[in-house]
């Protein structure tokens, strides 16, 4: 054993801590006092922090601290402040007409920004984050609209929905001609091919166009119109264009004619405030498909 009291390093002339590893001794280089005090203060600070702020998890909750601080409450306050800051602008949006909003760059930017976030929260699950849609869920970027693509028509669809149960909702549906026994299987195949011919798509070999036209005139014209150009007041799609909500191949058409279609768009009145619905209409219209 070494006598530590006399353990002075011969090179530096300083005392050592007495620790030695493989012949290397540790010099005793004390920390400055202020440094040590600062270190203890940080420990005191940490303990005070546990007491003052919510910190420790309990079985079903947590310690709440001394002043009832919670970050959730902070967020609520900040959101309320934000609403207050945006209050004037949203009021202006609520007052302006749809057409005026599209003409005013500032209001348009506000409506698009507001619309985009609300769209992401409410509409994206069905229509996709950019409104690209999917089978059965219309693409909002194209220029084909079941219930009309003007600003007012879009707003009406958002407000009341389609087949949503709302009193003012769009009604009308594609009947199930096969399931209900209105048309026989071979008639359905014929009329499906006839519909494909309306859109300029190739048809099955040996299909009877005259018979198809006759079936179409008897069963489909009432909604889809004479030439199959559709009717937005009934939500009857245009059958002559290149856009098909449920697919344009023969099998898809046979399924549509046999089983019918009745997609539902929920009504957003009551769930979103009027200014927000207006912003949404402008946003959807400005996606590029609006008329």
């Amino acid at each position: 054993m070494t006598d530590h009291h006399s353990d002075i390093d011969s090179v530096t002339g300083k005392s050592t801590t007495g620790h030695e590893w493989d012949g290397i001794k540790e010099l005793n280089t004390p920390l400055p006092r202020w440094w040590v005090i600062s270190f203890y203060l940080t420990i005191v600070w940490a303990v005070a922090y546990w007491i003052v702020y919510p910190a420790w998890p309990l079985i079903s909750s947590n310690t709440t601290g001394l002043f009832g601080y919670s970050s959730r409450a902070d967020v609520a306050v900040e959101l309320a402040n934000l609403e207050k800051i945006r209050g004037d602008k949203m009021a202006a949006l609520g007052k302006a007409s749809l057409a005026d909003i599209e003409k005013d760059p500032a209001l348009l930017a506000l409506a698009r920004a507001k619309g985009k976030t609300v769209f992401g929260d409410n509409c994206a699950p069905c229509h996709g984050s950019g409104g690209a849609g999917a089978k059965g869920y219309p693409n909002l970027n194209d220029d084909d609209w079941l219930w009309g693509g003007t600003l007012d028509q879009i707003m009406q669809t958002i407000q009341f929905g389609a087949r949503s149960g709302h009193a003012k909702a769009h009604e009308g549906q594609m009947l199930a001609f096969g399931k209900d026994g209105v048309l026989k299987a071979d008639e359905i195949v014929t009329v499906a091919n006839y519909v494909r011919s309306l859109a300029g798509l190739p048809t099955r070999k040996g299909f009877d166009a005259a018979k198809g036209e006759k079936i179409f005139a008897e069963n489909c014209v009432a909604c889809h119109g004479d030439g199959g150009q559709g009717n937005p007041s009934m939500g009857a799609p245009n059958l002559t264009d290149k856009i098909w909500l449920y697919g344009s191949d023969e099998a898809a058409l046979i399924e549509t004619i046999s089983q019918g279609r009745a997609g539902v768009m929920p009504a957003w009145e009551g769930r979103l405030d009027p200014a927000t619905i207006k912003a949404m209409a402008v946003y959807v219209h400005s996606l590029g498909g609006g008329k």
Partner: protein
């Protein structure tokens, strides 16, 4: 081998004290000389710039801030005389930081820690605080005597202490105050501060910086350099044998003797050193070290010991620069009796200078040639392409136009991409439908939604490049951006 140690056995130099050391207060003595004059000059320059720069005006026209140097955080703009930087150009600050770091390396390879000794804010403010202390409480001896005195405090002594701290706080307060002036129009803010109309955050920052200046320059002093600052450790790894460091020439100074004895011995023709052990170099040192012990981490190389020693050497009629800026090579060469050599131009300094010149030159070039009109384009991702009812293909883009100039511009947008394509900007009904036009207010950005539609038959390729041109129809300035037109 690791030995079991009884904590009781752990000792300091001569007592069973705790494992920390109380600070040994430093009482630097006043000194005059070349390096002291350089330090005064640099202090006056640095503080002058720092305290008064916010009040320098610069005319940028109506509506724009007229402060020469302004960091406008609410509007995300940085103004530096004729330069205005946008958040997109924050890389200029990155470049500036790199240049600053390499400049520090260059300084180090030329003159050791000259940054620490002359320019570091910690040094500058500590030096200023010492000057105040000296003015009020007297020089080294007096201050030591006053601190040691155990007499009950006299009114005179109390008033001295109060006066010293008041002036320190005043300087610290002005230091914090000057800082916030860089973030707001200085004359307006001063008026607001005086009438208590200024935003809370201004008072908070002044409070923080007043406190840090007061504590760091008034109390922490050399401890900041020794314990807090990483630079002493880094620079030790960056230095080389050619760097000039404050050095005691022990070959000339040793052996130390008194003036009288030295004269006697010299008369007998014996070899004696020039150092007379007067401790002047220690007395003036702001970090409280003895430079004669060789290079030390605590040494900030401020050169005050050189001045102190030179004064003594002049008095006793010996040549100056017993302590001076010297390099490691010369210490070796003097021992061998060779003449000292100094080399400023060497690979290390050339590389550092080249890096500074390259980055600085590149920054100046890009700054001089940058466009005040810019366009960024972002392609819609969902969907990337839309088929319209007539079969044509449409792509949508978010276009951001930046007008960095001080005037409103009328901008025309063209798209050069797929054959027979038409473009449309949402919300813009242009007189020329194929060439939408829009006004961008000065010093602002506009975000637009732009649609490019192309007939299907012309576009069999999956993706064709599309180039967007924005033209200032008044000045003809053009900016462009390239993206792709995608078919489903």
């Amino acid at each position: 081998m690791n030995k079991t140690v009884n904590p009781k056995d752990l000792t300091l130099d001569d007592d069973n004290g705790p494992l920390y050391a109380a600070r040994k207060k430093v009482y630097p003595q006043s000194v005059s000389g070349t390096f002291r004059r350089i330090k005064w000059g640099l202090m006056a320059f640095c503080l002058g710039v720092y305290y008064f720069l916010p009040f320098v005006r610069w005319n940028r026209g109506l509506g724009a801030p007229s402060q020469a140097v302004l960091i406008d955080l609410p509007n995300s703009r940085f103004y530096f005389f004729f330069i205005e930087l946008w958040p997109q150009e924050v890389y200029y600050f990155t470049g500036l930081l790199i240049v600053a770091a390499v400049a520090l390396f260059l300084m180090n390879s030329l003159g050791g820690r000259i940054w620490c000794g002359y320019l570091c804010p910690q040094t500058v403010w500590t030096d200023l605080f010492y000057a105040v202390e000296r003015l009020i409480e007297g020089d080294r001896r007096e201050r030591m005597k006053k601190d040691k005195s155990s007499d009950p405090m006299k009114l005179e002594r109390i008033s001295e202490i109060v006066l010293k701290h008041s002036i320190w706080l005043l300087i610290a307060w002005w230091t914090g105050g000057a800082w916030v002036l860089y973030f707001n129009d200085a004359p307006t803010l001063v008026k607001e501060l005086v009438t208590f109309q200024a935003p809370m955050i201004a008072y908070i920052w002044i409070g923080i910086l007043t406190a840090t200046t007061y504590v760091l320059a008034g109390f922490m002093r050399e401890q900041v350099c020794t314990y807090m600052c990483p630079w002493p450790r880094i620079q030790a790894a960056l230095t080389d044998e050619w760097a000039l460091n404050v050095t005691y020439r022990y070959d000339r100074g040793e052996k130390r003797t008194s003036v009288k004895k030295a004269a006697e011995l010299r008369a007998l023709g014996e070899q004696v050193g020039d150092c007379v052990d007067c401790y002047q170099c220690v007395a003036v040192c702001p970090t409280g070290i003895d430079i004669r012990n060789g290079p030390q981490m605590e040494c900030i190389q401020c050169g005050l010991c050189i001045d102190a020693c030179d004064n003594v050497m002049t008095k006793i009629g010996r040549p100056k620069r017993l302590i001076g800026y010297d390099n490691d090579i010369n210490i070796q060469r003097r021992q061998e009796g060779k003449a000292p050599i100094y080399r400023i131009v060497r690979p290390r300094t050339i590389v550092y200078s080249a890096i500074i010149a390259a980055i600085g030159g590149f920054m100046i070039y890009t700054l001089a040639t940058r466009s005040l009109l810019d366009v960024n384009v972002l392609h819609d991702r969902n969907p990337v392409a839309v088929k319209l009812s007539d079969g044509s293909i449409r792509n949508a883009y978010t276009v951001r136009l930046l007008n960095k100039s001080g005037y409103d511009r009328v901008i025309a947008i063209d798209a050069n991409g797929p054959a027979n394509a038409t473009i449309h900007v949402i919300g813009v009904d242009s007189v020329t439908p194929d060439r939408p036009m829009i006004v961008i207010p000065r010093d602002s950005t506009s975000e637009l939604r732009l649609l490019v539609t192309a007939p299907a038959e012309n576009n069999t390729e999956k993706s064709v490049p599309v180039r967007f041109h924005v033209t200032d129809i008044g000045l003809g300035e053009v900016a462009s951006a390239t993206d792709n037109f995608v078919s489903p």
